[in-house]
């Protein structure tokens, strides 16, 4: 039995998850990382992506965007500006998220916003939804 770590996922509006997990796959700004128990303390910002939690009863996927993850030896807490269980993300919601990213990119026209938009479109591919 693998060692467990405490996983918390909070968005500004509510706490989405608080479970004992064996591993957490985090879409970090500089690349994906997997956190397991006794990981070195790390803080990383998030890019839009799919976060996967693997726990005793299977695994859960969440679509997250914006914010950061705080990894310590005891657990992982992810503070995401937007977070939704993948199952709740349908085409309409996804369209809204892409539109938001596109709007931000149109306003800012920076490399960062372009990356955010590209990441957002990649999320759709991962979920099997098409960006319009």
């Amino acid at each position: 039995m693998a060692e467990m770590l405490q996983f918390d996922l909070v968005s500004p509006e509510r706490r989405l998850a608080s479970v004992q997990a064996t591993e957490v796959q985090i879409p970090g700004a500089d690349g994906d990382m997997t956190a397991m128990a006794n990981h070195a303390p790390t803080i990383t910002t998030l890019r839009p992506g799919v976060l996967r939690v693997i726990h005793a009863n299977g695994s859960d996927d969440y679509v997250v965007s914006g914010g950061f993850a705080e990894i310590s030896a005891q657990g992982v807490s992810v503070l995401a500006e937007q977070a939704l269980p993948s199952a709740e993300v349908d085409q309409a919601k996804y369209d809204g998220m892409v539109a938001g990213a596109r709007e931000a990119h149109d306003a800012a026209k920076s490399d960062e916003s372009a990356k955010t938009l590209a990441d957002m479109i990649a999320v759709g591919a991962a979920l099997g939804l098409a960006a319009r």
Partner: protein, 289 residues
């Protein structure tokens, strides 16, 4: 001396007023519970977020490369006051107490020779400030169409603020809102959000690896921290508004009850007086025969 009919009319009108205030009180109580719930749900996020940003800020803050949002623009000439009030009235001293605090601050700043700009969130504050301060007011955020406060509302306000900050429109931003203490007490609070100020900036107890660099994370998180603080303030305000309305309506209901009692006594007295009068007339008429 009002006639019996007048009294009767007044009693029934006060009674229907009491019904209305009672209903408003109950609606406010239900909304208060929801607003408090929302504030509670948001608390873990705000607390963790602030803790991490404060930790980062204390380690990066001293360096010369610290972002503007943390270090400030180097001057404090232009102050932006963000006055957050409610969209509806009938909530006791809720709006006036915020406006009063903001007004005192603005007067003090003007006396120091600083420039003051005012941004209002919520209709009631704008109405109260418009008379004397209209030349300082730069913008207004309308939340009257918002049914349920969401993080995106806070983001909109924050984006507006940050845009103005980047354009060099102000040096210091302070938000004014009511902190929810209990149904009977809400504390008007002024909080400086730009440049960011952290009260307990004790260094994080564990040493973290940062990915990407500390500075990059801080630059990413500081704008979000503005949105987070505004969101927290909006939620506190929403809870305070309902709390204030609830106690104001409770008072109004009680006052209406007192008034009904008083009017009923007056009504009974005058009715008795009329009866006595009639009796006297009858008796003296009989005696005269």
């Amino acid at each position: 001396m009002p006639s019996l009919k007048d009294l009767k009319n007044r009693i029934s009108s006060v009674k229907s007023t009491r019904k209305i205030t009672k209903a408003m009180q109950m609606v406010a109580a239900a909304k208060l519970r929801r607003a408090q719930d929302a504030a509670e749900q948001a608390r873990p996020y705000t607390e963790r977020f602030t803790a991490v940003v404060a930790g980062l800020a204390s380690s990066v803050g001293q360096s010369a490369s610290a972002p503007k949002l943390l270090a400030g623009t180097g001057s404090d000439k232009v102050h932006l006051l963000v006055v957050m009030t409610s969209e509806r009235g009938l909530c006791g001293g809720f709006n006036s107490s915020i406006v009063k605090l903001a007004r005192a601050r603005a007067t003090a700043l003007l006396a120091e020779g600083k420039t003051v700009k005012i941004l209002t969130v919520g209709k009631k504050g704008r109405e109260q400030l418009r008379r004397d301060w209209s030349q300082y007011m730069v913008a207004h955020v309308d939340l009257s169409q918002v049914k349920r406060l969401g993080y995106n509302n806070a983001q909109d306000v924050a984006r507006d603020l940050l845009g103005r900050f980047d354009a060099g429109e102000f040096d210091v931003a302070t938000i004014f809102y009511n902190q929810f203490q209990s149904v009977i007490s809400q504390i008007p609070t002024a909080q400086q959000i730009i440049p960011a100020k952290f009260e307990d900036a004790e260094g994080a107890s564990t040493l973290y690896d940062y990915e990407p660099s500390e500075e990059a994370i801080l630059a990413d998180l500081l704008p979000r921290s503005v949105a987070t603080q505004i969101f927290a303030a909006l939620l506190e305000n929403a809870a305070s508004e309902q709390g204030a309305r609830m106690s104001a309506m409770d008072n109004a209901t009680r006052n209406a009850g007192d008034m009904i009692d008083k009017l009923t006594i007056e009504f009974n007295r005058s009715r008795q007086a009329v009866i006595t009068n009639e009796l006297i007339e009858i008796i003296s008429g009989a005696e005269a025969l």
